[in-house]
């Protein structure tokens, strides 16, 4: 093509194109219209900032006990009160935000990555591979999430890194399912057939043509699953499978606080409240993203 200068008598399209409308801008405009989702997003951004700045924000060292102020109620000195060792609850919650967010993000990212790969392979190739992947996913989905996580942790042992693995494993099937159905839908589109007629390899069809079309649904599920993951990690810690009691994990704090419900209910209120708010925020954000990204819901 390049060797030849071409000058054909083709009528030039005189008309200028419509002014550019950026996709990102359109998305933001649409998203801003959904008030609850915007508030949820704001809350999550705040939480992430806090997690980053936690060491600087903590009024006390979250691990240092203060035996003069054991189980003290919220006061000017300790805004959220202290726990059974006199450790500052606010400091521990701030430190815990790092832990919770990193555990949930890494586990869902791991689950999403593996689930997406399996889902796209199942959807694209079909046949026995599809049956194998999807039936396995069905088996995993048949277990209640938390039971599965407990079983996994019971096998590979407690500890935060194992919690990450357990939560990742039970996230895989939902991502694989979503990815498979999106792949099946996009696979039918004419532009995928066009790509085949050009001679694209299967791999480039999957990654260049199919995958970008499925990202929206993955993002939505990702946000939703983070809420679940935080809850699951907290539950595991609560049950004693996750973080050690010394670690400032929200679930672990809730678990120990339970013992002092009568004398110092603030421990449970604050740690339970933050879990509740965070999970709610991620779910609301997920809803908002789904409404903006999904062209079917308008």
């Amino acid at each position: 093509m390049a060797e030849e200068k071409v000058a054909l008598n083709v009528p030039q399209e005189e008309q200028a194109l419509a002014p550019r409308q950026s996709r990102a801008k359109a998305f933001i405009l649409k998203f801003i219209g959904r008030k609850t989702a915007v508030i949820a997003a704001g809350f999550i951004i705040l939480l992430v900032i806090i997690a980053f700045l936690a060491p600087a924000l903590e009024p006390y060292n979250p691990a240092t006990p203060d035996y003069d102020a054991i189980l003290s109620a919220p006061s000017a000195k300790h805004l959220f009160g202290t726990d059974e060792y006199g450790r500052d609850i606010l400091s521990r919650l701030l430190a815990g935000s790092r832990l919770s967010l990193s555990v949930s993000l890494s586990s869902v990212t791991l689950g999403a990555g593996l689930g997406a790969i399996l889902g796209i392979l199942a959807g694209y190739y079909g046949g026995w591979l599809d049956s194998l992947i999807m039936r396995t996913a069905d088996v995993l989905l048949a277990f209640p999430d938390i039971l599965l996580a407990i079983a996994i942790v019971a096998v590979i042992g407690p500890g935060l890194s194992n919690v990450v693995i357990a939560v990742a494993v039970f996230s895989i099937p939902s991502f694989a399912r979503i990815m498979r159905s999106s792949t099946l839908a996009v696979k039918q589109s004419l532009y995928v057939e066009a790509a085949r007629s050009l001679g694209c390899t299967n791999r480039s069809i999957m990654w260049k043509h199919i995958f970008p079309g499925t990202v929206a649904s993955i993002i939505v599920n990702f946000t939703m699953r983070i809420g679940t993951a935080i809850l699951a990690a907290a539950s595991l810690s609560f049950l004693g499978f996750g973080a050690k009691p010394t670690e400032p994990d929200w679930g672990a704090m809730l678990s120990t606080g339970r013992n002092y419900l009568g004398v110092a209910p603030h421990i449970v209120y604050f740690s339970g409240g933050i879990i509740f708010l965070t999970v709610l925020a991620f779910n609301l954000l997920g809803d908002g993203l789904r409404d903006t990204l999904d062209p079917k819901i308008q």
Binding site: M1, A2, K5, V6, L8, N9, V10, P11, Q12, E13, L17, A18, R20, Q21, R23, S189, L190, Y191, E193, A194, A195, R196, S197, L198, G199, C200, T201, N202, S204, K208, H209, P212, G213
Partner: protein
């Protein structure tokens, strides 16, 4: 005469349509015993109504589908049983232009990358050379090089079809299968795209398999025409011959049904009775006998064969 570029022999393709778990499997007879040849630099048009199997035939020639039986030869090679991997290098010689300019371009990829994609697959050009080639291609099809970094949704239907053509053209194919390339476009834009296709054919010595339901469009672009009905080729002839001397009753009805944009024109219209039969349950004998004005008992029983009645004029009807 040189060797034909495409030879298609007795192609058959059926699709299984399974409606429910318990109901017996049904088969849609999409293409039945279709044969034709296309010579280099020639335009062969397949015409027929929706569901007549013309698009399936196009996809069989492109080997996007695998025929149940019959053979496809491209440039002298039998490609019927080629695997996807064996087909890949051949795809630079055969490209396709699709009907729907909205669906056939990936909305998430820039024009530049869309047009460069075949070049990336089939040539060893550097990124810079590809850019240059894309800009030239855009000019060839009547768009501007500045359009390269736009996305498909910023273009009108006609412009998108030009992009689709530029994409197909980028690897300098020998054959372009054009599946209803202008039927989604407005009249004034349709003429632009048809002219473009014709100019490109002369310039680059292209061979077209042109699939259309519009007989007026086909008359402008085709050299030879094949008329399909219910998956079968019922008549095939050079253009002038077909339009001046249509022989098959279906071709006659089809030609007479085309509305003529001339109020003074008086029609002797043949109005066919009834609807198209279901391809799941095709009629016995001649496919057309349920609607044919001169149907006989023989038509209901015997399948007519395509025979040559005069030079290059084939008809599948025993009564002509």
């Amino acid at each position: 005469m040189s060797e034909p570029l495409v030879v298609v022999k007795d192609l058959v393709k059926t699709f299984a349509s399974s409606k429910g778990l318990l109901s017996p499997k049904k088969y849609v007879h999409a293409v039945t015993d279709v044969s034709f040849t296309i010579n280099p630099k020639e335009t062969f048009a397949l015409v027929g109504e929706s569901g007549c199997g013309k698009s399936t035939t196009g996809r069989l020639v492109m080997r996007l589908l695998h025929p149940d039986s019959g053979r496809v030869f491209f440039d002298g090679t039998d490609i019927t049983d080629y695997t996807e991997n064996q087909m890949r290098p051949l795809r630079s010689d055969m490209q396709m232009v699709f009907q729907d300019p909205y669906g056939s371009l990936n909305p998430r990829i820039k024009i530049e990358d869309l047009i460069a994609e075949p070049l990336k697959i089939h040539t060893k050009l550097s990124a810079e050379e590809r850019r240059k080639a894309v800009h030239e291609l855009l000019e060839v099809v009547g768009l501007r090089p500045e359009h390269a970094d736009r996305y498909p949704h910023e273009f009108s239907g006609g412009q998108r079809q030009r992009i689709g053509i530029a994409r197909a053209l980028s690897v300098r194919p020998k054959l372009i299968v054009a599946d209803e390339p202008v039927s989604a476009l407005d009249v004034s834009i349709q003429a632009q795209v048809l002219n473009l296709l014709k100019e490109l054919q002369q310039k680059y010595e292209l061979t077209y398999l042109f699939i259309s339901h519009n007989l007026s469009v086909v008359e402008m672009i085709a050299d030879k025409i094949g008329v399909m009905y219910m998956g079968k080729l019922v008549e095939s002839a050079p253009k002038e011959e077909l339009y001046s001397n249509p022989l098959h009753p279906y071709t006659k009805a089809l030609l007479s049904a085309v509305p003529i944009p001339d109020p003074t024109h008086k029609h002797n219209r043949i109005i066919l009775k009834g609807d198209l039969p279901s391809p799941v349950n095709p009629p016995s004998g001649c496919m057309f006998h349920t609607r044919c004005p001169n149907c006989t008992e023989q038509c209901k029983a015997e399948k007519p064969v395509l025979r040559e009645v005069s030079k290059d004029h084939f008809v599948a009807c025993p009564y002509v």
